[in-house]
C-alpha cells in the first residue's frame, strides 16, 4: 500500500531582519527537516504550542509556502512544490478562522464555484449538481448559497470552509485548528461532521491543534511538535496516556482535567529557546528535569522506543509497566 502523504526532509527557514538593499541579516528555522508518512485513511494529529511551527508546516503542505528543503509525495507521486495549482486538486486546507477565510464581498456560491471552475473546469450545470451534493454532505441548506459570509455563525462558516475544501475533490485535508475558534457545543458538531465525511469519502486528515483532548478524540496517531521538530509520534491511545518524551508528559500534565488537583507540573520556566540563537542540543533541555550534558550538546534523533512510539530523547520516560 502506498502512503497517502510522505514528507522527506521537509523544512522551512525564514530570513529575518533587513540589511542594506533588503538582504536578510539572519535566518530562523521554523521547521526543522521532518520525515513523515501518513497512510491512506489515517487521521494524524499534530499538537504543539504557539511557535512550534505547526502552521508553517501546514502551509508548506498545501503549497502556500515553498519549503526550504525536502519533498512532498502524494500517493507515490512527487509534488512539484514550485507549482501552487498542482496542490489544489490533491491536498486541501481548512482554515482556523472560518469567517476570515471567506471573502466578505463574495456570495457563498461564488466561493464554492471557484475550485470547481478553476481546478476542474466544470460546466455550469455540473457545478450546480456538485455543489448541491456537497452541501447535503455537510448539512448546509442550499438557500445559504446566495448569502454573504457575515450572515453566518462561526460553526456554519466552518462548514462552508469544509465544503469548499471538499469541492476541490482532494483526498487529503489539512485541518489547521479547525475548531479552536468555535464554542464547545458547536465544536462537537464540526468534529463529528469531519468524522462522518472521512468515512464517506475515504479521506486522509492531518489534524493540527493545540488542544490535546480534541486531538486525542479524533486522531489515529499523534505527532508532538516542539520548536520546529517532531519530538514524539505514536498511536493516539499511547502518546498522552504513556508519554515517552518529557515534553509530551509536560503537555499532558498541564491540561486541565476535571478531577485532577491543580498543580504546576514544571518548575523550570516556560520560555522557548531564542529562535535566532538556537541551542546546540535538544531544544527542550533547558526546561527538562532529566537533561544531561549530552542533551545540551547533541540533537537527539527520533528513535523507536518500542511499542510503536518514536521519541527524540536520550533519556525517554519508561514505558508503563502493564
Amino acid at each position: 500500500m502506498t502512503a497517502a502523504l510522505r514528507l522527506d526532509g521537509l523544512s522551512k527557514t525564514f530570513p529575518v531582519g533587513r540589511g542594506w538593499l533588503g538582504k536578510p541579516t539572519a535566518s530562523v528555522k521554523a521547521v526543522h527537516p521532518i520525515d513523515l508518512t501518513v497512510p491512506r485513511g489515517e487521521t494524524l494529529g499534530i499538537v504543539g504550542e504557539s511557535g512550534c511551527g505547526k502552521s508553517t508546516l501546514a502551509r508548506m503542505l498545501v503549497g502556500l509556502l515553498p519549503p526550504s528543503t525536502g519533498s512532498i509525495e502524494i500517493e507515490g507521486a512527487a509534488l512539484d512544490t514550485a507549482d501552487p495549482t498542482a496542490f489544489g486538486k490533491r491536498i486541501q486546507y481548512v482554515f482556523q478562522d472560518p469567517i476570515s477565510s471567506l471573502n466578505p464581498r463574495k456570495t457563498i456560491r461564488q466561493v464554492m464555484e471557484a475550485p470547481l471552475r478553476h481546478l476542474h473546469g466544470m460546466k455550469r450545470a455540473e457545478r450546480e449538481a456538485r455543489i448541491r451534493e456537497i452541501f447535503a454532505d455537510v448539512n448546509l441548506r442550499e438557500e445559504f448559497l446566495d448569502r454573504y459570509p457575515h450572515e453566518f455563525s462561526g460553526g456554519q462558516a466552518q462548514r462552508i470552509g469544509i465544503a469548499r475544501a471538499l469541492a476541490a475533490d482532494a483526498s487529503i485535508l489539512i485541518l489547521d485548528e479547525p475548531v479552536s475558534a468555535l464554542d464547545v457545543s458547536v465544536q462537537a458538531q464540526v468534529l463529528n461532521l469531519l468524522a462522518d465525511l472521512k468515512g464517506k469519502r475515504d479521506l486522509t486528515y492531518l489534524f493540527i491543534s493545540h488542544d490535546l483532548a480534541v486531538v486525542e478524540a479524533v486522531a489515529d496517531r499523534i505527532a508532538v511538535l516542539y520548536f520546529g521538530s517532531v519530538v514524539e509520534i505514536g498511536p493516539a491511545a499511547q502518546v498522552f496516556a504513556a508519554p515517552r518524551h518529557p515534553y509530551t508528559k509536560l503537555l499532558a500534565d498541564s491540561a486541565p482535567v476535571v478531577g485532577r488537583p491543580l498543580t504546576a507540573p514544571e518548575a523550570k520556566g516556560s520560555e522557548l529557546p531564542d529562535p535566532l540563537n538556537p541551542p546546540p542540543g535538544c531544544a527542550f533541555a533547558a526546561r527538562c528535569l532529566r537533561a544531561t550534558e549530552q542533551c545540551r550538546s547533541t540533537v537527539p534523533r527520533l528513535d523507536d522506543t518500542g511499542d510503536g512510539t518514536r521519541a527524540a530523547c536520550f533519556h525517554p520516560l519508561d514505558a508503563p509497566t502493564a
Binding site: L64, F95, D183, A188, A213, E216, V218, S254, P256
Partner: protein, 626 residues
C-alpha cells in the same frame, strides 16, 4: 442602496451633496445660460461693484463680467480637479496593488521610488514639473496628479499587503485562481472602498492645488481663467476693489467645503467600523439608565450582584447581553462563571466596575454591591476610587491589555499612585515586591522591560501583579488564561490559587473551560444567553448537573484520557440576544423541552447551595443538593 441611505442620514454630508450637485449642475449648464462672454474686455466698465446694471457680480479690472467668468471658471476648476483626482487615484492604486500583492523586490523598488518622490515637499515637485513642461492648465493638472500618485500608491499598498495575507486570499489560491484573477476578484473589490474614500477626501484638496498653481500664474493662461487665476489676477486690486477677489475665493471655499462634507459622509458610510459604533469613544464609566427599583441589599458576600441587566443599544436593536444576573462571592472564595461566547459572562464581569464600553453598553437594572455599597449609578469619582483598590481586574490578552509604550514597572507604580501618593524609591521597591509575589525571576531587572519584551506568560503575571498592587478584596479575572499555551496556563492557574489562599482574596473567574473550573473554583455559575441557568458547588455540579444545558455542554467537551470517540453535540445555535424567545432560551436545543418551557419567565429554583433555572431538570435540584 444601503450606502445611499447611510449617506443621506448624515445631514452635513447631505447638505454638502446638495450644494455640490447645484454647483455641478450650474457648471454643466453654463454654456447654455444667457451669460456675457467671459473674455470680452470693456475697460470703460472696469471694477463695477456687484449688483450693477448688467453685471450681477460686477466686473473685473478689464471690465469682464464676473458672474460669467465665475461660472466658466468653476466649470474649469471642477473638471481639472476631478480629472487630477481620478488619474492620480487610478495610477496610484494600480501601482499600490501590484507592489503590495507581489511584494518582494518589485515592492522594494517601487516603494523606494515612492519614498523618493515623497521626500520632496509636494509643491517643489509640482513646480519642477510645471517648470519643465511650461505653464498651462493641462500641465498644472499633470503636475498635481503626479505629486499625488505616491500618496495613493503608498496608502493602497498598505491595504493590499494586509489583504494579500488574509486567509481568504490563501483560500482563493487553493481554489486554483491565478494571481491576476485573485487581484481582480479578491483584492480589488476590497480595495475599491478605500480608493473611493481616499479619492473623496482628496478631490477638494486637488481643486485647491490646481487653483493654487493657477493663482501663481503657472496654471491656466489668460484670457482663459479658472477660479485660481481669477483670484491671482484680482490680487493686485485686493485693497481697492476687494469684491473681485472675494467672488472667486468664496466660490472655491463653497466648492471645496461641500466636496469635503460629502467626502466625509462617503467615508463614514463606507467604513464598516462606524456602522457598528466601534469608533465611538467609550466613556469613563458605563452609562446607567436604571429602570425599576434598586434591589435591597441581602448582605451576602464581599461582592454581591443583584438582578444585573446590561444591554447594548446599536441603532434600533437592543441586545440583552445580561438579563438579570445575581451572584455573590465571599472572602477567600473562588467563583467560576462558565459559558460560551455571547452568554454574557464577560459583560457581567465588566459591569461590576462600570467597564463595559459605552456606547453601546448601558446598565439598565439591578445593583452591584461592594461591601454593601451600590456601585451602579454611584458618582464616577467614587467608582474610580474603588476600581483597583477594592475590586481589581485581570484581563484576557496580556499583550493588548498592557500599555505598549510604558515600562512594566511604571505601569505597576501607576496602579498604586492612582490611589495614594508614593515616592520613587518606595514605588520601585513595591514594584519589585509585586513581581516577586507573582514569581517573576530577576524582578529588579524586569521592571524596566517593556511589555513586548516579555513572553505571554510573563505578561500575564504582570497583569496579576498589577491587580494585586493595592491589596484589593476582590479580583475579577476575565478569561485570564485563554490566550496562553497549556503549559503556561497551568502555571498561571496555580499561581492564582496560591495567591487566593495566602491573601484571602475573593476571585470571580470567567472561563469557558470546565477543566479550569473544576481545578480552581469552589462554586460555579453556568450562563446561557445572558442568564444564570445553574449555580452551585463545583464538585456537586460536575457530578450531578441539573440543567440540561450544563449536562449536555459537559458531554460535548472532549477530555484527555478518554481516547478516540464520537462526541456528543448540542444541535442548533444559541439564540441571538436581540431576539430572545419567551421562556427558556435553551428550549429550542433541548430534547426535554415541552410547551411550558417556551412560555413566561422560568424562575431559578433553589435548594441548599444548588440552584437551577429549569422546569424539567436532569436531576431534581433537591436531590442534587444532597
Amino acid at each position: 442602496m444601503k450606502f445611499l441611505t447611510l449617506l443621506a442620514r448624515n445631514r452635513l454630508a447631505l447638505g454638502g451633496g446638495v450644494v455640490m450637485a447645484l454647483v455641478v449642475l450650474l457648471a454643466l449648464v453654463t454654456p447654455i445660460l444667457p451669460l456675457a462672454d467671459p473674455d470680452v474686455t470693456d475697460t470703460a466698465r472696469r471694477f463695477l461693484p456687484p449688483f450693477s446694471e448688467g453685471a450681477l457680480l460686477g466686473t473685473d479690472h478689464l471690465g469682464r463680467d464676473l458672474l460669467s467668468r465665475l461660472l466658466w471658471g468653476t466649470r474649469l476648476s471642477l473638471a481639472v480637479g476631478f480629472a487630477a483626482a481620478i488619474s492620480a487615484a487610478t495610477i496610484g492604486a494600480a501601482i499600490g496593488i501590484v507592489a503590495g500583492y507581489f511584494g518582494g523586490w518589485l515592492d522594494n523598488v517601487v516603494m523606494r521610488g515612492v519614498d523618493m518622490l515623497m521626500a520632496f515637499p509636494y509643491i517643489l515637485l509640482a513646480l519642477a514639473i510645471v517648470a519643465a513642461l511650461g505653464p498651462g492648465l493641462m500641465n498644472a493638472l499633470i503636475a498635481v496628479a503626479a505629486v499625488n500618485v505616491p500618496f495613493f500608491a503608498r496608502n493602497i499598498r498598505g491595504i493590499t499587503v494586509g489583504l494579500a495575507h488574509r486567509e481568504f486570499v490563501d483560500a482563493a489560491r487553493l481554489s486554483g485562481l491565478s494571481d491576476t484573477r485573485i487581484i481582480l476578484s479578491e483584492v480589488l473589490p476590497n480595495v475599491v472602498p478605500v480608493i473611493v474614500i481616499a479619492m473623496s477626501t482628496t478631490v477638494g484638496w486637488m481643486i485647491l492645488e490646481t487653483a493654487g498653481l493657477s493663482f501663481l500664474g503657472l496654471g491656466s493662461q489668460p484670457p482663459q481663467a479658472d477660479l485660481g487665476s481669477m483670484l491671482g489676477e484680482a490680487r493686485a486690486a485686493l485693497i481697492s476693489h476687494p469684491h473681485t477677489s472675494i467672488v472667486p475665493g468664496a466660490m472655491i471655499l463653497i466648492v471645496v467645503m461641500s466636496i469635503n462634507l460629502l467626502g466625509d459622509g462617503v467615508r463614514d458610510a463606507l467604513d464598516p467600523r462606524l456602522k457598528s459604533g466601534a469608533l465611538s469613544r467609550p466613556r469613563a464609566a458605563t452609562l446607567v439608565e436604571r429602570k425599576g427599583p434598586v434591589p435591597a441589599s441581602e448582605g451576602r458576600g464581599l461582592l454581591e450582584v443583584q438582578d444585573l441587566r446590561t444591554e447594548f443599544h446599536v441603532g434600533p436593536r437592543t441586545y440583552r447581553a445580561v438579563g438579570g444576573v445575581s451572584l455573590h462571592v465571599e472572602q477567600g472564595e473562588c467563583l467560576g462563571i462558565i459559558g460560551e461566547s455571547g452568554s454574557g459572562k464577560s459583560v457581567t464581569a465588566l459591569s461590576v466596575m462600570g467597564l463595559v464600553a459605552s456606547p453601546p453598553g448601558v446598565i439598565t437594572g439591578g445593583a452591584v454591591r461592594v461591601e454593601g455599597e451600590d456601585m451602579i449609578g454611584t458618582p464616577y469619582r467614587r467608582l474610580r476610587d474603588l476600581r483597583g483598590r477594592k475590586v481589581a481586574y485581570i484581563f484576557q490578552d496580556p499583550l493588548a491589555t498592557l500599555h505598549p509604550l510604558y515600562r512594566v514597572g511604571d505601569q505597576l507604580v501607576e496602579a498604586i499612585r492612582a490611589h495614594r501618593p508614593i515616592g520613587r524609591a518606595e514605588g520601585r521597591a513595591k514594584a519589585i515586591e509585586l513581581l516577586e509575589a507573582v514569581r517573576i525571576p530577576n524582578a529588579a531587572k524586569r521592571i524596566s522591560d517593556y511589555p513586548h519584551e516579555l513572553s505571554g506568560g510573563m505578561r500575564q503575571r504582570i497583569g496579576i501583579a498589577m491587580a494585586l498592587a493595592n491589596d484589593p478584596d476582590v479580583i475579577i479575572a476575565d478569561e485570564p488564561t485563554t490566550a496562553l499555551d497549556v503549559t503556561v496556563q497551568a502555571q498561571i492557574l496555580s499561581l492564582l490559587d496560591d495567591l487566593r489562599r495566602s491573601r484571602g482574596l475573593a476571585i470571580v473567574f470567567i472561563t469557558h473551560d470546565f477543566g479550569v473550573v473544576a481545578q480552581l473554583c469552589d462554586r460555579v455559575a453556568v450562563m446561557y444567553a445572558g442568564r444564570i441557568v445553574e449555580e452551585g458547588p463545583t464538585a456537586s455540579i460536575l457530578e450531578t448537573p441539573c440543567h440540561p444545558y450544563t449536562a449536555r455542554l459537559m458531554a460535548c467537551v472532549p477530555e484527555l484520557g478518554e481516547g478516540r470517540r464520537r462526541l456528543e453535540a448540542i444541535p442548533g445555535l444559541p439564540p441571538a440576544v436581540d431576539k430572545l424567545p419567551p421562556g427558556c432560551a435553551f428550549a429550542d436545543r433541548c430534547a426535554k423541552a415541552r410547551a411550558e418551557c417556551r412560555q413566561g419567565e422560568i424562575a431559578l429554583s433553589r435548594a441548599g447551595p444548588r440552584a437551577v433555572r429549569c422546569l424539567y431538570p436532569e436531576t431534581p435540584v433537591m436531590e442534587a443538593a444532597q
